[in-house]
Amino acid sequence: MRLHQMKQLTFVAVLALGLVAGASAQAGIASRAVRTDIGGIDVIIVRTDVKDVVTVTGSLRAGDDRSPEDNVALATVTGAMLDKGTTKQDKFALAQQLGNVGASLSFSVGASTLQLSGKCLRKDLPLLATLLAEQLREPAFPETELAKLKKQLDGAMKSQLEDTDFRAEDAYTRVVYPKGHPNWQPTPEQFITAVDRTTIAEVRQFHSQYYGPAGMRLVIVGDVDPAAVQAELRRAFAGWSGGSVPPAATLAPALTGARQDVVFMPDKTSVSVIMGQPTQLRYSDPDSLALRVATRIFGSGFTGRLMSNVRDKEGLTYGIGAYVGNDTFSDGDWRIDASFAPALLDKGLASTKRQLALWRDQGVTAEELARAKTRTAGSYRVGLATTSGLAGTILMALDSGMPLAFVDEYPQRIDALTLEQVNGAIRKHIDPARMVLVEAGTVPGGTAATK
């Protein structure tokens, strides 16, 4: 849900590789992975050489897009109640069991999924599996906890309202995506109003309707014995049923023209900027990789065109990058994220737009594409280093509708892209004349009205 999914502008984000940031290209991951259907759950287990550590990640199709129109917060509230106690134990007992072994288990609700995240030592995986199943299957949903949660969500939202990145993203999503699209978000006021009037009965109904093995995926990576893990999961999830996969969303339409929105926030020393448009592409669409590589050349890393020019040559920002995203379960968007001092905002935007026009009109060069390919291959192998990087990559690939083999084939698919494909994707899918520009912060002369 919105309180968790907003991306911060960080250096790491600038270097992100899109779908497979931190991914692993270890030879034969697909052949080493053990994939099984366990009671309807798609389970992928990969043993690595790390000692003791196990990372668990997963998704379940109970995201914000399943919230009913008259309660836009229901998926988020339901997900947030999972760790508030089960029919077997209260939240403190749950936390104590995890704490006793230093394990972690958390849930967060995004646009299309409930996301599961856990970490533990090898010896404690049976406990983690037990608690994961217990919290998903048998949440108690106590009234007292809902009352507390409402206040926590209200405060958390107020805290987010202080964040210029959040405010820019919040406004951006409602311009780029129409109501009813999975990536559309309600206003903070709509969200809090919905939270306030959510009842336990609604939560129970939502849980009953959407939680279940159908559409659920678990990826477990690290120091594991796959057969033993499978046995634990079969035990923990035996007899569970339900869940579903929602129908594909209708594509977000292209914007009809350029627009500029200002979210004025007093006393802020830096303005957050997002400039972008819907792509009408899912990750699995044919042009997706080409557009990603083109965008990486434009806006990823310190050698990307945006950082090289807007930051390095002109000194106008600490961070600027371009991304394709939000396209795992539906069509997504293309955007530039940046921060500028209020006094440098106009210069920064002018420089950014110059670079955008150059990239859009002239495309990338063969040399840039060649460098992007070697970089991708190298960073892919560097991603071998962590269990969380590998687990996240597998989950994202499969959730995007790609086959498991894609995790191994990714560098080759990138390497096979031609200059024509990459520049063609830019011309076909990017249109600066139909982008929205959102500025959030103490914008000079700004009000909430159009600038």
Binding site: S159, D261, F264, P266, L344, V382, A385, G446
Partner: protein, 471 residues
């Protein structure tokens, strides 16, 4: 590149354990003999060598779980080495370290960022109170290429004023991003009040006017004072062979002599604080913050381990005392507690985001009640056991990849003793409930505390609501 406010925030928000605490479960590494090196010691899986010609410290930790290696150089210079007029200079210099040298630069197409992005390396640099580090995680075949550039910029950096002018606004925007965040802004104010003499008084990013005006000559002097082999530690972690790595380090770093002058040491000692201090920060905002900081010992102090356990008991997760007393009662949105892990005595920080409709004074009162309860009644054996279990697990998680190891090792180098990467484990495992009660009474002294409130003011500008309208 970035300084470490983000790291500070992570520490504030998460566990109270120090960044450099890890288990001694890895097999000991057999030291190698290499020409030009003095073998110093092996602790855990890390062996220390000194390059005899110039005093460079080299730490090697072979770890073959993946075909990658992390190379890092840590300079023992941070914002504690700055004085009025040069605050933020360490960090600004760190940025300028990416501007090239006669040998490696953008025009030649072989600058550090061009090289590392071509080979797909994960890289960055960070500055904090006691140190500056530069690192990359690369495929093993790219190690020498990166090491050559990293070694080159130790002594051959260009340092052009034109680059400083352009980078100043970049760094100033980084400062502005930090000031956007109420808790970060309050943290700056609390540190400035808590330390009146010691340079921990000012934040790593520095004061805005210093960022804007520090001349290139002072940055050059800073570089020429601190960027020498005998003020640096290089760490190699991952898939490499020790003898070959030592040879590479010697090849690229052995070309430099020791510093011609002794590296200046910080001799300022913070005077004893003799009374509670308070600061208030008022700005437009939504959520209040209460911060309380007590003077705490160096990361090398024998009491540090018990303070780490205490921080976990107070502020880590739903089992913590602050969660039960504040978050679960809707008095705070979140509460964190942690002891600073630094070279010199620093602060044990507690931060709470005040829930809407709750008074700052109420949150502060409950925080202090909990502190007094620990001082009077101590903690339970179960609480200590849970904290130690979290510690043991975090130790294993911290070995998940060579970069995770390097980043933790980096902070122990900065604290002044890299062996803390292992020895702090033993100290922590031996912490008892009695130790926790003792350190609570020793350090949670109101007269040695600084309390800060961030008070959000209602918006006064035209409209703080987002009601974007199309043009």
């Amino acid at each position: 590149m970035k300084h470490t406010l983000a790291t500070i925030c992570a520490a504030l928000a998460c566990a109270a354990f120090p960044p450099g605490a890890h288990a001694d479960t890895a097999p000991a590494t057999v030291p190698v003999t290499a020409p030009g090196y003095k073998y110093v010691r092996t602790v855990g899986a890390i062996s220390e060598y000194t390059l005899e010609s110039n005093g460079l410290t080299v730490l090697l930790m072979p770890e073959h779980s993946a075909p990658v290696v992390t190379f890092m150089v840590t300079y023992r210079v941070g914002s504690r080495n700055e004085v009025t007029g040069t605050t933020g200079a360490t960090h600004l210099l760190e940025h300028l370290m990416f501007k090239g040298s006669p040998m490696y630069n953008d025009a030649k197409g072989n600058s550090v960022k061009q090289y590392l992005e071509t080979v797909g390396g994960m890289y960055n640099a960070t500055t904090w109170l006691d140190r500056t580090n530069y690192y990359a995680q690369v495929e093993r075949d790219a190690l020498e290429g990166y090491m050559a550039i990293e070694a080159d910029r130790m002594r051959k950096l260009w340092l052009h004023d034109e680059d400083r002018r352009r980078e100043m606004t970049v760094v100033r925007n980084e400062y502005e991003l930090g000031e956007n965040d109420p808790q970060q802004a309050l943290d700056v104010q609390i540190n400035a009040a808590a330390f009146v003499a010691h340079p921990y008084h000012h934040s790593t990013i520095g004061w805005r006017s210093d960022i804007e005006n520090v001349p290139i000559e002072k940055l050059r002097a800073f570089y020429d004072t601190f960027y020498w082999p005998d003020n640096a530690t290089v760490s190699v972690i991952g898939d490499f062979e020790p003898a070959a790595a030592l040879a590479l380090v010697k090849k690229h770093y052995g070309v430099y002599p020791r510093s011609p002058q002794p590296i200046p040491q910080v001799y300022t000692v913070e005077p004893e604080q003799q009374g509670a201090r308070r600061v208030t920060l008022k700005r437009a905002g939504e959520i209040g913050v209460v911060g309380i900081a007590w003077k705490s010992p160096s990361g090398r102090d024998a009491d540090y381990a018990a303070l780490g356990v205490l921080g976990t008991i107070l502020g880590s997760g739903k089992t913590s005392r602050f969660y039960r007393a504040l978050t679960d009662k809707n008095l705070a949105l979140n509460v964190s507690a942690s002891a600073g892990f630094f070279h010199d005595p620093s602060l044990f920080n507690v931060y709470a985001s005040v829930a809407p409709g709750v008074e700052h004074s109420e949150v502060e009162r409950v925080l202090l009640e909990e502190i007094e309860r620990v001082k009077k009644d101590g903690v339970t054996d179960q609480e200590v056991a849970t904290a130690l279990a979290k510690y043991e697990a975090s130790t294993a998680y911290g070995r998940d990849g060579s970069f995770a190891i390097a980043s933790n090792l980096n902070e122990t180098i900065a604290a002044g003793d890299w062996t803390l990467y292992y020895t702090l484990d033993d100290a922590t495992r031996n912490v008892t409930a009695a130790d926790v009660k003792r350190v609570a009474n020793a350090y949670f002294d109101a007269d040695r505390s600084t309390t800060g409130w961030f008070i959000p003011l209602p918006a006064t500008a035209p409209d703080a609501e987002s009601a974007p309208a199309a043009k």
